[in-house]
């Protein structure tokens, strides 16, 4: 007799795949949820210029990088971009591509910054903000708006990136010093 799906013995011993969430997984989930919340909340803020926003969601990545390492920060950032775009309805749209490219560039910049000795939250945040803006503008110029006027906007956008990166860095440094005390 060949075993079949109606065999009562087969049903009594089902194969169960158990996924256990490690503390690391739970930490990523919590922090990603926080980052996504900030990301969505921030998307309703009015912006003086397209592409300029405070980038507060990256605060979570900066804090996570300094507390738990680059891997955790990368997980949070990637989840935030994907889930955030699903919630906002921009998944796979140009907005999403810009966001994903900027985030990839920011993660690379933070990875480089964390290899340099003595770089704290402010350095990470400024590097990430500038890389995010640079990556975004380069993609926009290459793919969407190959027009000289876009590059003329770059200095203004970079100024915003430096200012917001600095402010976020101060906030992140404050948060970290309170977490460690």
């Amino acid at each position: 007799m060949t075993p079949s799906t109606s065999d009562p013995h087969a049903r009594r011993s089902p194969r169960i795949l158990t996924l256990s969430a490690s503390p690391e997984d739970q930490r990523v989930a919590w922090l990603a949820a926080l980052a996504i919340t900030i990301h969505v909340a921030e998307s309703v803020l009015p912006s003086p210029l397209p592409g300029v926003k405070p980038g507060l969601a990256n605060l979570v990545s900066v804090v996570a990088l300094l507390q738990y390492g680059w891997g955790t920060a990368a997980w949070i950032a990637v989840l935030r971009v994907i889930v955030g775009s699903l919630l906002l309805g921009t998944f796979l749209s140009p907005t999403f591509m810009l966001s994903a490219t900027g985030t990839a560039a920011a993660l690379a910049a933070m990875g480089l910054a964390s290899r340099l000795p003595g770089v704290g939250a402010v350095g990470h945040s400024v590097a990430a903000a500038m890389a995010h803006m640079g990556g975004q503008v380069m993609l926009a110029y290459w793919l969407f708006i190959p027009h000289q006027a876009l590059l003329q906007l770059l200095p203004v956008l970079m100024t915003a990136a430096v200012i917001f990166g600095f402010i976020n860095g101060i906030i992140a440094a404050t948060a970290i010093s309170r977490m460690r005390s």
Binding site: V119, G120, G123, F144, Q148, Q152, T159, F166, A173
Partner: protein, 120 residues
């Protein structure tokens, strides 16, 4: 709050941004040619090399364009509000203005012409 390395990164960021202003906002990228379009006719390309004045016949009357080395402007146009004249000299590549009532538009071009924007 800020380490010495942070200070160095912030300083480098500020200097880099300042450099971008110098590089991208300098007038060195002045256009060499301009495209002029009147009505639905194909645009004509003019070189911005020497001083001259062009008078074009538009939908409502004459538009007077003035060209100097590296720049072009509407000197006068037969329209009511003169927005085209008020927009002044166009210098950098990509700069453009138009006299809508008279259906005359000009755009300074520098490098090879590309798309204005692409959407998917």
């Amino acid at each position: 709050m800020m380490t010495r390395a942070d200070f160095v990164i912030v300083l480098a960021a500020v200097l880099f941004t300042g450099g971008l202003y110098g590089m991208l906002w300098s007038e060195s990228g002045a256009g060499q040619t301009a495209l002029i379009q009147v009505g639905h006719e194909p645009p004509q390309r003019v070189t911005l090399d020497a001083h001259r004045v062009l008078t074009l016949r538009g939908a409502r009357g004459d538009s007077v364009l003035e060209i100097q080395p590296g720049r072009i402007r509407f000197r006068d146009s037969s329209c009511n509000h003169k927005f085209c004249v008020l927009s002044g000299w166009l210098t950098g590549a990509g700069a453009s203005t138009a006299c809508l009532p008279n259906q005359v538009s000009i755009m300074v071009t520098g490098g090879p012409p590309g798309y204005d924007a692409i959407n998917f």
